[in-house]
């Protein structure tokens, strides 16, 4: 697993390095009154990244395939929480902070463990309400408030 990841990662890092080199070639090479321009630093770094990725690829190549211990990963709760976070982020500005945070927390609490329904409801409501009140009313900060139809 780790080795396979290292292969993919080293190739990706190599690509990133090459892209930065190409990108810095397109920048202006010198600024007024100076022999060194904005391109030199990314150019050096890009080249460094290319060399290091090649070294990582080589290291991965010579390392014998070790079978690591397999861990049981909890994909289902992770995917639900990840999706919930994504939905939360995307709807935050349209539906508003309090409602989205409340729903997000409640869904996640129940995904983590199917128990204590009422306590989950109370904690999610308190957290979203309290953060909103403290930040917007007391500290005068800005958070997306309520949806237009509210």
């Amino acid at each position: 697993m780790a080795l396979k990841f290292d292969y993919i990662a080293s190739v990706l890092f190599l690509a990133v390095g090459v892209l930065f080199i190409i990108g810095s070639k397109h920048l202006e090479s010198s600024s007024y009154g100076s022999a060194v321009g904005p391109d030199i630093f990314p150019l050096i770094l890009g080249s460094g990244l290319v060399l290091l990725s090649i070294r990582l690829l080589y290291e991965t190549f010579i390392t014998k395939n070790q079978q690591g211990r397999k861990e049981k990963l909890q994909y289902k709760p992770f995917l639900i929480i990840f999706a919930a976070t994504l939905v939360y982020i995307l709807t935050l500005e349209t539906i508003g902070y309090v409602i989205t945070t409340f729903l997000f927390l409640f869904v996640c609490f129940q995904t983590m463990e199917r128990s204590k329904m009422i306590l989950s409801l109370i904690i999610s409501a308190c957290f979203s309400g309290l953060v909103y009140f403290l930040y917007v009313e007391v500290l005068k900060g800005t958070l997306p408030d309520w949806p237009i139809w509210f």
């Binding site: 904005p38 630093f41 990314p42 990725s53 992770f78 982020i89 935050l92 463990e113 500290l139 800005t142």
Partner: protein, 508 residues
């Protein structure tokens, strides 16, 4: 003005009522962060930056910076106190610098001496904190005076040394650590170049013009990444918490641990100053040292008080020592100090030799508040240790989603942009995979924070020398730094080739 005058002024700042409150909240949260496994000082500090930024919003800029850094530093050294609690009571280190404490601490708890182990750990941490602070005060002025004489070439090489040292010690593979460093530096080049004003690698996306925000990356990689890891690798743990009987150590125990505390503090302090070597290494070294000089080395591992006193003093001393390069040179030596530096820069306060001249209030206020914070921690930890031990029973069901919610709130409050939230989520995923495959994250954040400064000094040096790279090798101090960097990276590599074990720094 003499150092003492500055220190008194610092106390004047630190003793303003809200600063006392900030220090208190900082050490309280720090202790909690130290107790909870899964949240280390790095994610704790990163999570709290946006929260403190919004709380201090009403104060004038310099006051806000002082108060914020007082709170954040409190989290940092408070975590060092808290880490020992779970190591001793549960055999589960709350953070990596308390791993060694489990060896003797848990054995002591098993024998019914948990109380004395905990109090010695707290007393040791307190003594170490005070010794470090005295050293910090003594060294701050002379060191920044030396650093003021550095030109851009010296600075560039010094930063290279810092980055190299952190990469060399950061993980199992130096190559991977270096890749992370370079990646961090590259991410730092995105946005408007502040010398020439040219937009670099922005692809005409307006959101990228201001550059990639360090806060988003740090919170994403550390806090969210750690949360994803906890969800994916769910473990059922129901260790029993050892009972705490007598809290006060006996006179014999105090006498026995005086030596280890003193040695641990000094060793920890010097290890802490070194870039790259943090609290984790310091605690390992001091444990090994105590075992070597002990008359009865066989006692170690069976519950001897020296095995708790030395590493706990050392990790706290190291966290204070790590403040020295940050405050005087402007070069963070570890992941957590890099995050502290990023926080200071958010307030437009540049750590470095000029900090003590330009912002004496920030620098001395912080130092004075560390005195107060350490006293608070001692008071908090001795009688309240039972309360803190309860924190570990916080159900993960509620803790984990709340950390995600706090991360999202924090990043949104500072950045007010959905793109940053998406980046945060992406970084969380990225951070999980990197961590799982032994790619250390601390060098990336360090690279991102130091990137613009490294580049500016490089370009200034090259502009002065008219594009001639030999300037870095002909100036003696710069050459010295480069040689040390080179040795730092090459020696562990050679030692590994010879089949020797190299102790690495897991905390970063």
């Amino acid at each position: 003005m003499s150092t003492l005058d500055y220190l008194f002024q610092g106390f004047g700042t630190a003793l303003i009522w809200y600063n006392i409150l900030f220090a208190f909240v900082g050490v309280l949260i720090g202790t909690a962060v130290g107790v909870l496994p899964g949240i280390g000082p790095m994610s704790g500090v990163a999570l709290l930056i946006p929260v403190t930024a919004s709380i201090t919003g009403g104060l004038p800029p310099e006051h806000a910076a002082t108060s914020a850094i007082i709170l954040l530093a409190g989290v940092y050294y408070g975590a060092m106190y808290g880490g020992s609690t779970t190591s001793i009571l549960l055999n589960t280190p709350g953070e990596s610098s308390s791993v060694v404490t489990t060896l003797d601490g848990y054995q002591m708890a098993k024998k019914g001496r948990a109380g004395s182990a905990l109090s010695i750990a707290a007393i040791g941490s307190f003594v170490a904190g005070i010794i470090t602070l005295v050293a910090l005060i003594a060294l701050a002025k002379p060191l920044s005076a030396v650093a003021l004489k550095f030109g851009p070439a010296e600075y560039f090489s010094l930063m290279l040394l810092g980055l190299g040292a952190v990469s060399g010690l950061a993980g199992k593979s130096v190559t991977k650590a270096l890749i992370m460093t370079v990646l961090g530096l590259l991410l730092g080049t995105i946005g408007i170049d502040n010398v020439s004003g040219i937009a670099r690698f922005t692809f005409d996306v307006p959101w990228l013009y201001q550059g990639i925000e360090f806060l988003t990356i740090a919170v994403g990689l550390f806090a969210v990444g750690e949360v994803f890891k906890t969800i994916l690798e769910k473990e059922e743990e129901d260790n029993e918490i050892a009972r705490i009987n007598n809290l006060l150590p006996s006179k014999a125990e105090l006498k026995e641990s005086a030596g280890p505390i003193a040695r641990g503090s000094l060793l920890g302090f010097f290890v802490g100053i070194l870039p790259g070597a943090g609290a984790t290494l310091a605690s390992f070294f001091s444990y090994i040292l105590e075992k070597k000089i002990s008359k009865t080395p066989s006692k170690f591992g069976t519950g001897t008080i020296a095995g708790v006193a030395a590493p706990e003093s050392a990790n706290n001393a190291a966290s204070g020592g790590a403040m020295i390069p940050l405050l005087t040179l402007g070069i963070p030596g570890s992941g957590t100090t890099a995050i502290l530096m990023g926080a200071l820069m958010m307030y437009n306060v540049q750590p470095g030799p000029l900090l003590f001249e330009d912002h004496p209030q920030v620098a001395w206020g912080l130092i004075a508040s560390m005195f107060i914070g350490n006293i608070m921690l001692l008071i908090l930890n001795l009688p309240l240790v039972k309360v803190f031990a309860k924190i570990i029973q916080t159900p993960k069901q509620f803790l984990i989603p709340m950390i995600i919610a706090i991360s999202i709130f924090g990043v949104y409050a500072v950045q007010v942009s959905t793109y940053d939230l998406l980046l945060l989520l992406g970084c969380g995923l990225f951070g999980y995979f990197l961590n799982k495959n032994d790619y250390p994250i601390a060098p990336l954040v360090l690279g991102l924070v130091l990137g613009p400064m490294v580049e500016n000094n490089l370009r200034r040096a090259l502009t002065i020398s008219n594009g001639d790279f030999s300037v870095f090798f002909t100036r003696p101090i710069s050459l010295l730094f480069l040689i040390i960097t080179f040795l730092w990276l090459i020696i562990p590599f050679l030692m590994k080739k010879r089949g020797k074990d190299v102790i690495i720094n897991i905390e970063g």
